[in-house]
């Protein structure tokens, strides 16, 4: 019998529906696989009892020929999503012991569709990081290693636990979030598929806020079809989030397999900065070639403000973070370090509870919003953001979708990047998408000479996730799927 954990969502869904396998069997296989993969440190909290109970309920529904689109499918949930009565700490010390009395809209949508929760996944603290090294619960190990090397590599971040868990087959798929690249960069580092939908497509209610004008949730999955299935279940119109956009959620799976004949694919010249590795350049050219062979038209375009997206992001995101993270004061939830008075309690709690990267960003945010600097930094950055968005608005008159590399390199080693700005540069190709509120998908496109996954990114028009799935599937068909060798 084949290992049940190797089934994609689509494959498992068919076998569950046909009663060839039970949801409980599938769930038990994952619980056993998680047990064997502890060394990867992907999970920060496991919920096997809850998983078994949910799987049994799914089996009862399936036996009656009922059930939702994810009935009996075991998922991992990023620690950023509020899950009722279950560890929800954004992998921060400051949320020690926090168990919400409510469920996030995204996870509620998934449970309503019949999915099974395996546990909570590791991540960078408050989603601030590109290597998962800022987690209070320690780093996550990438299942991928270089050829002939036992050296550990990071899975990227901030959704490092999600990417590793999907790549290591210790969940069928995972939820993730993306503020500057936190879905797409780890997906690229682990040979998985990750989509950040259009801002407003997925409700942010019940998801721990980092930068509210940039945050969007999306899935990390093993292939493009599974990403379409997951996004359909996660997305909704939600009265509890005023930025949730009032548009029906399409059946994204229908876009899979559609021809790209006549599709205009933009290649932005600004995404080829001096010093970009020849391997990344080659995989990008190959991606364009595959689409061309299937009848797409390749069009060179210009997005002139690309280089300013990252510096503008490092004003806007910390500014919003400093406001959002003001709520962690040791009073209503989480850690409290007693002080001489109330202010001293706040200051000691926040000094002990936030890690160094979070403290840096809160301080930067506080500084750029402080009296006398607001116009010079924050307003300026928001103006640059308008220009970045206008670049894309102009591009859409020439092209239907944009193809770029997902990351400037393959996965790196823990401790290899210590300079904060060097770490930020990981998001150089992904952050523009958040700044403009657009959808972007990362899809594996090949392996580096060292045997590590490399990903391509497709950027779409607002609410045109369907074209992303359609195009990414064509790349996936040409590139094939990539699976890490099990060494753990």
């Amino acid at each position: 019998m084949t290992n049940l954990t190797n089934l994609t969502i689509a494959e498992a869904r068919a076998k569950l529906k046909a009663r060839e396998i039970s949801a409980l069997e599938l769930t038990e296989s994952y619980i056993a696989a998680i047990e064997k993969a502890k060394i990867l440190n992907a999970y920060v909290a496991e919920t096997p009892d809850q998983a078994r109970a949910m799987a049994k309920a799914s089996d009862a529904k399936l036996a009656k020929g009922e059930g939702g689109s994810l009935e009996g499918i075991p998922l991992g949930i990023k620690d950023l999503f509020a899950t009722k009565g279950v560890h929800t700490q954004a992998c921060s010390h400051i949320l020690d012991g926090f168990k919400p009395g409510y469920e996030s809209t995204v996870t509620q949508n998934l449970w309503d569709a019949g999915a099974v929760m395996l546990g909570k996944l590791n991540m960078d603290e408050f989603a601030m990081g590109s290597s998962n090294e800022t987690s209070y619960y320690g780093g996550v190990t990438n299942p991928w290693r270089r050829h002939n090397s036992n050296a550990q590599l990071v899975p990227g971040g901030s959704s490092g636990g999600s990417a590793t868990a999907v790549a290591a087959h210790i969940c069928a798929a995972a939820t993730a979030t993306d503020t500057g690249g936190s879905i797409r960069q780890p997906a690229a580092f682990t040979g998985t598929v990750g989509i950040k939908p259009t801002y407003g497509r997925v409700s942010r209610w019940g998801t721990v806020a980092f930068a509210s004008s940039l945050d969007q949730a999306g899935p990390i999955t093993r292939d493009v079809r599974d990403a379409a299935i997951m996004l359909k279940a996660m997305a909704s119109v939600d009265d509890k989030d005023t930025t949730s956009v009032d548009l029906p959620v399409p059946d994204y799976e229908k876009a899979i397999g559609k021809s790209v004949k006549g599709l205009r694919v933009g290649i932005p010249k600004e995404y080829r900065p001096d010093g970009l590795s020849s391997e990344i350049n080659a995989v990008w050219d190959k991606g364009a070639q595959w689409l061309k062979e299937q009848g797409a038209e390749i069009v060179e375009i210009s997005l002139p403000h690309t280089k300013y997206a990252l510096p503008a992001y490092y004003i806007v995101a910390p500014a919003e973070a400093s406001s959002n993270l003001a709520r962690y004061d040791g009073v209503r939830y989480g850690l409290r370090v007693p002080g001489d008075d109330l202010i001293d309690t706040y200051e000691k709690t926040r000094a002990a509870g936030f890690g160094p990267e979070v403290q840096r960003r809160v301080m930067i945010g506080t500084y750029v919003l402080s009296a006398g600097y607001y116009d010079a930094y924050y307003v300026k950055a928001q103006k640059v953001r308008t220009l970045i968005k206008q670049d894309f608005d102009k591009a859409w008159s020439k092209v239907d979708v944009v193809l770029t590399p997902a990351t400037p390199s393959a996965a790196f080693a823990p401790g290899e990047i210590t300079d904060p700005v060097q770490m930020y540069l990981n998001d150089i190709f992904t952050v523009t998408v958040n700044m403009a509120g657009l959808p972007g998908i990362a899809v594996p496109a090949g392996l580096s000479s060292e045997g590590l996954p490399l990903g391509l990114q497709l950027i779409g028009k607002p609410f045109d996730e369907e074209t992303l799935f359609q195009t990414a599937y064509v790349i996936e068909q040409a590139a094939g799927k990539f699976m890490a060798k099990n060494w753990w």
């Binding site: 926090f98 403000h305 300013y308 503008a312 000094a351 700005v421 930020y424």
Partner: protein, 95 residues
């Protein structure tokens, strides 16, 4: 623009994060690296450009100003470090 130790102390106070005097020089250095990085924006001409306020053109959703939720103080205070009679407890703030 760059920050000195005095500014870092002021910002830390505004952010309500305790920073030891010994850590100020290192933190100032780290913040200056980031601030130098964002200085690139000075190259961009933003004359007559409106700041972005929303990436999606949508009228602000409104709802009736009525209570839609609540009446469970126990659930609200259950995660607090200290609570009593459904109130959050903090160190004494008035003498």
């Amino acid at each position: 623009m760059s920050v000195d130790e005095k500014t870092v102390r002021r910002v830390a106070r505004l952010a309500r994060i305790k920073v030891a005097d010994a850590d100020l020089p290192k933190l100032a250095g780290e913040l200056n690296v980031i601030l130098n990085f964002v200085e690139q924006l000075n190259e961009v001409n933003v004359e007559n450009v409106e700041p972005l306020t929303s990436v999606v053109e949508q009228n602000m959703k409104k709802r009736k100003d009525v209570v839609t939720d609540g009446h469970y103080p126990k659930a609200i205070t259950q995660n607090a470090a200290a609570s009593e009679d459904d109130f959050f407890m903090v160190p004494k703030v008035v003498e």
